[in-house]
Subunit: 468 residues, 2 copies
């Protein structure tokens, strides 16, 4: 892909200036009416606890269902537990359209509301369509720009990857993450805007602006293959660039592991653990209860399932009700990076989660719910917990709060951190941890090995260390 | 990897001359006593039809079991059927050790017997170990050279890939295909021999010499990354080399599809079909019957499950009984290649099989059982069937017979063919077919997209068109 790094250091463009970005988002927010109200389950329309399956389901059988799950595994501290989980077997498209206009590469982003977003409207991909969406199960409008993603004569594929979503909350869910390049002039509709990569990265310096789906697609951009990677050091923003992060985009013979060794380690990890899951009616979970307003754990402050009533102006249908997974407690998602031979290495964790498609996914160094109380509630401290909790500000590369997908999660936020720790010995870490270069993460990432939490963090990396 | 192509054109080595290869195999055959006899199920030791599960299983619960399967799919001509299938959830290692000795690259191959081999002894990888094997479930010896594959300080990983086996006969079975490079001098035990790649390719010009596991591992050799690839044209065997096949090892901007477009197409294929399978007791299959000596389809000449009694000299244990899947009818596994811009493209089929791990695997152009009677029995002709059946000898690149894995299959042979057909229009083929370069197959193959049938054929490619 051409003009990638040059897009990354373009902050003002012919479409919008950096200083106008938040104002544009604000204006879109005001232009769109959107009211979300938690309601008891009995007020949900067509969503019922199905007597036959014991799941919370839509009458049509479409969309998704909330199910009970019993989990047994030899991974981690807890050998078995019960939980509810979202089952959404259909694969949707998360797609961003890109175009080079007058020599500058742009990405068509959308200001899109989702009922669970804490601030209602966030920056989303061009297209965010479930299969029900684009097969018109909503009986509403066809999603805008869909044709550029499914008609191969209208665009060139830059990336098209099957990527998983939260294995702790979804049962084997995947979406197709796509970036397609167009040559045609297209109409830019309300709520859409051509942005440079620099502008997207600027917006990532704010909390809760770039939504989860956009982060996931952006994480797949093949920076390691960018044709203008080598021109970075000679550019005028050179003084702001971080050579250790850019070095991490290239593999060389001095790397601590080759790509083949990383794949070998991943395969070893996939064969190291067992996982047995059993889908059961929610009422068969001993530790969970269904109240008129939520499904929740009986004793622990875990996530809950609630119902919401939504009134919206610019969505495919104008109002609806649905369940959402709610979690008011801030989680923590963090990568440790270490500088070795002037190159950043990311400390990746091989992690078993009950909804994973192939048992083990590559996760960030840490990813936990309710992180302030995690040690107290679980009685254990995850590896590197204290490194994040008491990081020296000078070692913090990134530290912002982002929301998880507002179409399924209600007010669920995580603190996203990337922290330098040069004191960790790369050969004395737990067996399910491994240092990898960013190039290795991007190459292996194409084939779906990295989970949504790790992809979300990767998307936040700013090669120029932009600060606002 | 270094010295790959030079190994490919080394036919006589310091360990053995080309002319002695078959004699060595013959001598190994005579040195090892091995008698295999089909027996009724009641003569199997510890293998029983389990009354609770309805499967044919070993008393220990280890090894594998033979189960009933009901299949529903919208792929292909037959919407639903019943069959028996082998369930072997554990992942074994198929590994070849490689070493550069006096400037020549060698692979340590083993003359190994398997009860189902039509000629008893075939050339196998250095290590062929199920997890039961190397956890000593046989209560026999530890497999030779195992330590070089599991102890990371003793070798360098060249490849380590999780690869599937026959999705039509195994339920989600995978093995770890490994090549490790060693520097140490090692003892070469009886039945083992250092061979060059050229010698292995020579042996592939004979029927039933190189076994399925060896073919699978050899297919993973990253020829596209070989450091001496560029030296090929200037070498003295230049006149014998095929520039169109070597050109297929490099991608360029003139290729009909980019790697990203191929991955996109694979993802599209994975989302295009449905498959529902249900594991059932064998007795619940309406179309199959259990006789005292076999499990077979009531009316059609499909594969059968039989029992065998094995007496062997050099295996981990000296005698045993086990079930095997028997098929006396020759199958056909074939790739069509087309010459476009002086480069060979392989016609790959996206194929749904009931035991596939992720619904769709990349398969050869054709892969059918009982190919002589296929059209008559099924009433349909697969795409390109006649191209293979009546290929002009001048267009046949490869045409030999090989056995499938003799530890699970009894006398199961397939005709392996690679045939040039330049008359096929690359844009007017069925939606689930696609032309790919060999480099694309090798790159995507690392991540397990290509099935055992396609890998087996890839392993037979001889860049120098060796003829015996």
């Amino acid at each position: 892909m051409e003009n990638v790094f040059s897009s990354l250091f373009t902050f003002d463009s012919e479409f919008i200036k950096e200083s106008e970005l938040l104002k544009w988002l604000d204006a879109r927010n005001r232009a769109n009416e959107f009211i979300v109200k938690p309601v008891p389950f009995r007020e949900l329309d067509k969503w019922k606890f199905n007597e036959e399956t014991g799941y919370l389901q839509h009458d049509s059988g479409k969309f998704f269902s909330i199910e009970g799950l019993k989990v047994h595994t030899d991974f981690g501290e807890v050998p078995s537990w019960e939980q509810v989980i979202i089952n959404q077997p259909e694969v949707g498209i998360l797609g961003i359209m890109t175009k080079v206009i007058n020599g500058t590469r742009y990405f068509l982003m959308q200001a899109k509301m989702e009922p669970g977003n804490i601030n209602i409207l966030q920056i989303s991909p061009t297209l965010q369509a479930t299969r029900s969406n684009y097969k018109l199960a909503h009986k509403g409008k066809t999603p805008l720009y869909l044709e550029y993603f499914i008609d191969r004569t209208r665009s060139t594929i830059i990336i098209d990857q099957l990527q998983s979503e939260q294995g702790g909350r979804f049962l084997r869910k995947r979406n197709r993450n796509m970036i397609v390049e167009i040559k045609d002039d297209i109409e830019v509709f309300d709520d859409f805007l051509w942005m440079t990569l620099g502008q997207i990265k600027i917006l990532m310096q704010y909390d809760n602006i770039i939504n989860m789906d956009a982060r996931s697609v952006i994480s797949c951009i093949p920076f390691h293959l960018a044709k203008d990677k080598k021109e970075v050091s000679s550019h005028d923003v050179k003084s702001k660039s971080d050579p250790k992060m850019i070095a991490s985009l290239s593999d060389d013979v001095n790397d601590i592991y080759s790509l083949e060794e990383q794949l070998s380690w991943i395969n070893e990890q996939k064969l190291s653990y067992s996982l047995h899951i059993q889908q059961v009616p929610i009422t068969q979970l001993n530790d969970w209860q269904i109240t008129p307003t939520c499904i929740r754990h009986k004793t622990m402050p875990f996530f809950e399932v609630i119902g919401v009533d939504v009134k919206a102006g610019n969505r495919e249908v104008s109002s609806w009700t649905q369940p959402l997974v709610s979690d008011r407690n801030l989680g923590l998602i963090g990568f440790i990076v270490k500088e070795i031979n002037n190159k950043f290495y990311f400390l990746v964790q091989a992690k078993v989660e009950p909804g994973n498609i192939d048992l083990v996914d590559m996760a960030p160094t840490i990813s936990i719910s309710n992180y302030e109380r995690f040690a107290e509630l679980s009685g254990t401290k995850p590896f590197c917990y204290d490194v994040f909790k008491s990081a020296n500000p000078g070692n913090i590369i990134y530290d912002k709060i982002h929301s998880e997908e507002g179409g399924r999660f209600y007010h669920l936020q995580n603190r996203y951190m990337i922290v330098i720790d040069n004191t960790i010995d790369e050969y004395s870490i737990p067996a399910n941890f491994r240092f990898m270069t960013l190039e290795q993460i991007l190459v292996l990432g194409q084939y779906g090995f990295f989970n949504i939490e790790s992809r979300g963090l990767i998307s936040c990396i700013d090669f120029f260390m932009t600060k606002i």
